[in-house]
Amino acid sequence: MPEQMMKTSEALNAVLHQAMLDDLTVICIGEDIAENGGVFGVTEGLLSTFGPARVIDTPISETAFVGMAVGSAMTGLKPVVEIMFCDFVGVCLDQIMNQAAKARFLSGGRLDLPLVIRTTMGAGDGSGAMHSASLHGLFSSISGLTVVCPSSPADAAGLLRAALKTKGPVVFIENKNLYDLEGPVPGDCLATPIGVAKRLTEGTDVTIVALGQMVQEASHAAAMLSAAGISAEVLDPRTVKPLDVASIAASVAKTGRLLVVDEGAGFAGFADAVIARVTEEAFSALKAAPRKVCPPDTPVPYAVEAEEIWLPNAADIVAAVQTMMEE
């Protein structure tokens, strides 16, 4: 197949179709994923192609059906289970944190846990305090989980392919504001390697790390900074865990400055993890304190303008970099 322009949701959908075609043990489980094709359309058409035994609509019982997915991954299936919004994970975290994440260890490696947990993240669409969270940092603090957050259709497709092949569990977090983003998706079935960062722009003054929809803000900011004579290098780690520390540290060795942009927790989240690890690796190269641009420490507010204030954007990034350049 040649390269095609696709939306993120279409790219993910195509990978799921292919995976279910190639491997009879791949099944999909979740709320409103079958008849309805998923609330964001990612599972559209799977039911009609593969039938209700492999594309399973569930009751609103996340603990039961995520746990069922874990148990089926322990016994020979390769389930892809959807938690509609990551905000809902509080009702079923045990099955992820204790049951799925620990099984490889507790079994002494006898179980591989080929499980992909798909969920969504991201603010900016007026969904309010319980449908807008970004919990990739929380997931990454749990031993045994691989955590992936793609920012483009091609990466979404490539990383989902990789997630379906790797030992799991993988928490695969789709930013809901990127589902409609279009981009070229290579036709060949290559997986994007997990744990490898992507460089979006090259630069020499500051390394900006961002993932998910923050990649766009970081890229805009880089363009704005460039106009102001500041050369920013934007890196998208794509995988939260394992984190590609080497690539980020190498960039910081060159630029001497690190800024992490993230819509997750500003305290004990992804940003802090990157800063702590990279500072350790690239300390002697640092010309200024590593900084982060994260939302204020409140839930996501509902009103449009308030949510805009809450969510980091290109202007916030530019301001943070300018402060760093003066230090």
């Binding site: 609509d57 009751p59 509080g90 509902y302």
Partner: protein, 316 residues
């Protein structure tokens, strides 16, 4: 205002008109995200509120709670402002449609997490019992929520602790796109509730008097610390959220409740004209309230600053 000495008919019509105007504003892009309308559950909302005392009882609701918040007596304009993300809303527009909070009016909170409101109502019940107020905690939830651990655990907990609590299940036959028969191994929710030790009732959400009577019995038992379960059959007249596709599996939207209420007004001697006038006046009043809310300024930096000052961590 709405909360006062109005008839059930007017109260139901008010909610319907309020929701229709919210829908219109949503279509016009005036609502930040998606809204889940209470259309089809008006009778249940008003009948439930009719047996409660907003001074000592507390209700918690689901994502679909505009109607019950209004029925409990929350200020309609403030509810509308909240849904529209406007200054003056119950929480100054920062909480939104899924997080209506009017504890002052006996509506403790609605919720974005399916089923999560149910344990909270048990908490309100515990407070009432501890402080011997005679009040009850009431959880309103859907047929989909009935399969959530939070709900099932709380049924047992309420029975075990003998909490003054009412479980009000609004069964509209659908959870988002999933029919109740697909999501539940056994759709006889009354038996399920009884198996947990709750006293169980069911009611037809198209029949106001019957519905209010069932809730009344439920509330009496609950006030005596025998927790109860009331299942009301309702409809979901505007899809899962407004703008959603018309849902194939759903029982056809009916206005049965509307006709029933009109019939009972007539039986009490009201003329067709009077009924129509009341309808028009109520409709106009509701639409006016929502329009008024839409004229309020959008919440922004000033309102959000209040949230910042509530943060637990001055450092972050």
């Amino acid at each position: 205002m709405f909360i006062d000495d109005k008839s059930p008919y007017e109260r139901c019509v008010f909610i319907r008109a309020f929701e229709q105007e919210i829908a219109a504003l949503s279509a016009a892009g005036e609502v930040p995200g998606l809204v889940h309308l209470s259309t089809g559950a008006e009778v249940a909302d008003v009948a439930l509120a009719s047996v409660l005392d907003s001074g000592k009882d507390q209700v918690t609701g689901s994502h679909r709670s505009h109607g019950i918040a209004l029925a409990m007596g929350a200020s309609p304009v403030r509810v509308a402002q909240e849904i529209l993300g406007r200054v003056g809303g119950l929480s100054d527009g920062l909480a939104g449609t899924q997080h209506l909070m009017a504890p002052e009016n006996g509506f403790l909170t609605s919720n974005g997490i399916v089923g999560a409101q149910v344990p909270l109502a048990a908490g309100a019940a515990l407070t009432a019992k501890t402080n011997k107020t005679g009040g009850v905690g009431v959880a309103v939830f859907g047929d989909g929520a009935a399969n959530q651990g939070a709900v099932l655990e709380t049924m047992n907990l309420a029975a075990a602790l003998e909490l003054p609590m009412i479980f009000a299940l609004y069964n509209n036959g659908m959870a988002q796109s999933t029919p109740v028969g697909h999501a539940s191994g056994e759709t006889d929710f009354k038996t399920r509730a009884q198996a947990f030790g709750l006293l169980a009732f069911d009611a037809d959400g198209a029949d106001y008097s019957a519905c209010a009577a069932q809730f009344k019995q439920g509330a009496e038992s609950a006030r005596g610390c025998r927790p109860t379960f009331v299942e009301v059959t309702v409809t979901r007249d505007d899809g899962h959220y407004f703008g959603d596709l018309p849902d194939a599996g759903n029982p056809a939207p009916t206005e049965a409740w509307f006709e029933n209420l009109r019939r009972s007004l007539k039986a009490k001697g009201a003329s067709d004209d009077q009924i129509t006038q009341t309808f028009d006046a109520t409709f106009e009043r509701a639409v006016g309230v929502v329009k008024e809310a839409a004229r309020s300024p959008k919440a922004g930096a000033a309102e959000y600053r209040q949230w910042l000052s509530l943060g637990a961590n001055p450092d972050a």
